[in-house]
């Protein structure tokens, strides 16, 4: 990891944490929906990186979000899971492109970007709400919350991603 991308990563880490804790945790759309936009961290994270570092970072990010949200360690578990499955998702979405040396997510098609983000969100939310509700008898409730919160997260994350996208050359 070069110094520049390390700095970018730290800035992303802190700003996503603060945005999540100070803005999106208090949105309460339709009463109870709080988008979890910090999933964007895994979307923006560089492709060719050490997986162990990613998992460690995910643990820290989730842990701090938990501290701010009073959710015990639910975000930690969800964000760990997202980090763990990230590489599999990328293989699924980007296919052989991933093997190219200078592959970047910003170089892929819009459909690929969106589906990658959506899948990250689905994994994350599934893990989060399954643990939060922690009962298979409430499967419908889990799915409902995954869908509603997931859609709102997707919308806000897409907007944020568009806002901070590097201009294509």
């Amino acid at each position: 990891m070069t110094g520049n991308s390390l700095l970018t990563g730290i800035v992303r880490f802190i700003s996503l944490l603060l945005v999540q804790a100070l803005v999106f945790n208090h949105l309460n759309i339709l009463g109870s929906i709080n988008p979890m936009v910090y999933v964007l961290f895994f979307y923006w994270y560089p492709v060719q990186e050490n997986r162990s570092v990613l998992i460690g970072t995910a643990f820290l990010l989730g842990f701090f979000v938990d501290l701010f949200s009073d959710t015990m360690a639910l975000h930690t578990a969800a964000s760990l899971t997202t980090a763990f499955f990230r590489i599999a998702l990328m293989r699924f979405v980007f296919g052989v492109n991933l093997e190219f040396q200078n592959f970047r997510i910003s170089n892929s098609t819009r459909v690929q970007q969106s589906s990658f983000l959506a899948l990250l969100i689905v994994i994350h939310h599934l893990a989060f709400f399954s643990l939060e509700i922690f009962s298979l008898s409430n499967l419908l409730l889990i799915l409902k919350r995954v869908v509603f919160t997931g859609v709102s997260t997707f919308i806000f994350a897409t907007l944020l991603a568009a806002l901070f996208a590097r201009s294509k050359e």
Binding site: I55, G56, F63, S69, M72, A73, A77
Partner: protein
């Protein structure tokens, strides 16, 4: 042994994930217990600081609402305070009161002339002196112009010479109440600067600058107002609460501190 190390190295990410996931699950289950939530909640040093900083910014956006709530509470407490004071003052020496009140009856009314004067049935013998304020239960009426033994003459607000300090209720924007001699239902409020937000229907009450009337005696409501481009003051028509054509019982208000105020003002004027 070699195999075990190889296995660990090959699956280090999975193992790391499993380990950390177990840790987080452990924390979750631990913290489900009420007594264990002490360290892993948003009341710790770091998150507390962040939330405090954020709140210190956020609270500015609610200042207006906060203010209004406090003002409303103040209003309620003031109301109670004054009522308590009034009850207590019955037992006290009346010379301690700022205002004393007399009652009288209008025996001659006038509203069709340019300068209207009323006559009331109390005079010097009853303690009526010049510059007492005259009000009805509905609102302001005028000022005692002169008094004889048994009667007094009251300069009505419907008088070109009348000039009474008035303000918009619940604000401190004050102006002068005058009459343009046209309509006995409408008086004019002048000297309200153009930056004051006005609405038709706003209540006008007496201001604090008067040494004759207590503050907040009702006068009327804003009937209409005009403000031309070049004017710096509004032209406001005020519909009186009083029906000036039909007057009966009135109250006379004496400000016991008025001589002191006038003396002070005179001294200041002479020194200048």
């Amino acid at each position: 042994m070699q195999r075990i190390i190889n296995f660990i190295l090959r699956n280090k990410n999975t193992l790391l994930y499993a380990l950390l996931l177990l840790l987080s699950l452990f924390l979750t289950i631990q913290n489900n217990d009420y007594h264990q939530t002490r360290y892993f909640n948003s009341a710790n040093w770091l998150t507390g600081r962040v939330y405090k900083t954020s709140e210190s910014v956020r609270k500015y956006f609610w200042l207006r609402e906060e203010n209004e709530r406090l003002m409303e509470e103040n209003r309620r407490l003031h109301t109670r305070l004054y009522n308590v004071a009034r009850e207590d003052s019955i037992a006290l020496d009346t010379s301690q009161l700022t205002y004393s009140v007399l009652t009288a009856r209008v025996i001659k009314n006038s509203y069709g002339e340019a300068n209207n004067y009323l006559t009331i049935d109390k005079g010097r013998r009853d303690g009526v002196v010049q510059d007492m304020g005259v009000i009805t239960p509905q609102g302001i009426l005028g000022i005692v112009e002169r008094s004889s033994q048994g009667f007094a003459s009251v300069q009505s607000v419907l008088n070109a010479k009348s000039n009474i300090n008035a303000k918009i209720r619940n604000t401190d924007y004050f102006g002068s109440l005058t009459w343009n001699q046209e309509d006995y239902r409408l008086v004019q409020l002048e000297d309200i600067p153009r930056l004051v937000p006005l609405k038709v229907g706003d209540t006008i009450v007496t201001g604090a600058m008067s040494s004759i009337f207590p503050e907040n005696i009702p006068i009327g409501t804003i009937e209409n107002f005009t403000l031309s481009e070049s004017d710096s003051f509004y032209q406001i028509d005020v519909r009186l609460f009083n029906d000036m054509t039909s007057l009966g019982q009135v109250y006379l208000i004496l400000n016991r501190k008025r001589p002191e105020i006038l003396e002070l003002e005179n001294q200041t004027r002479n020194d200048r």
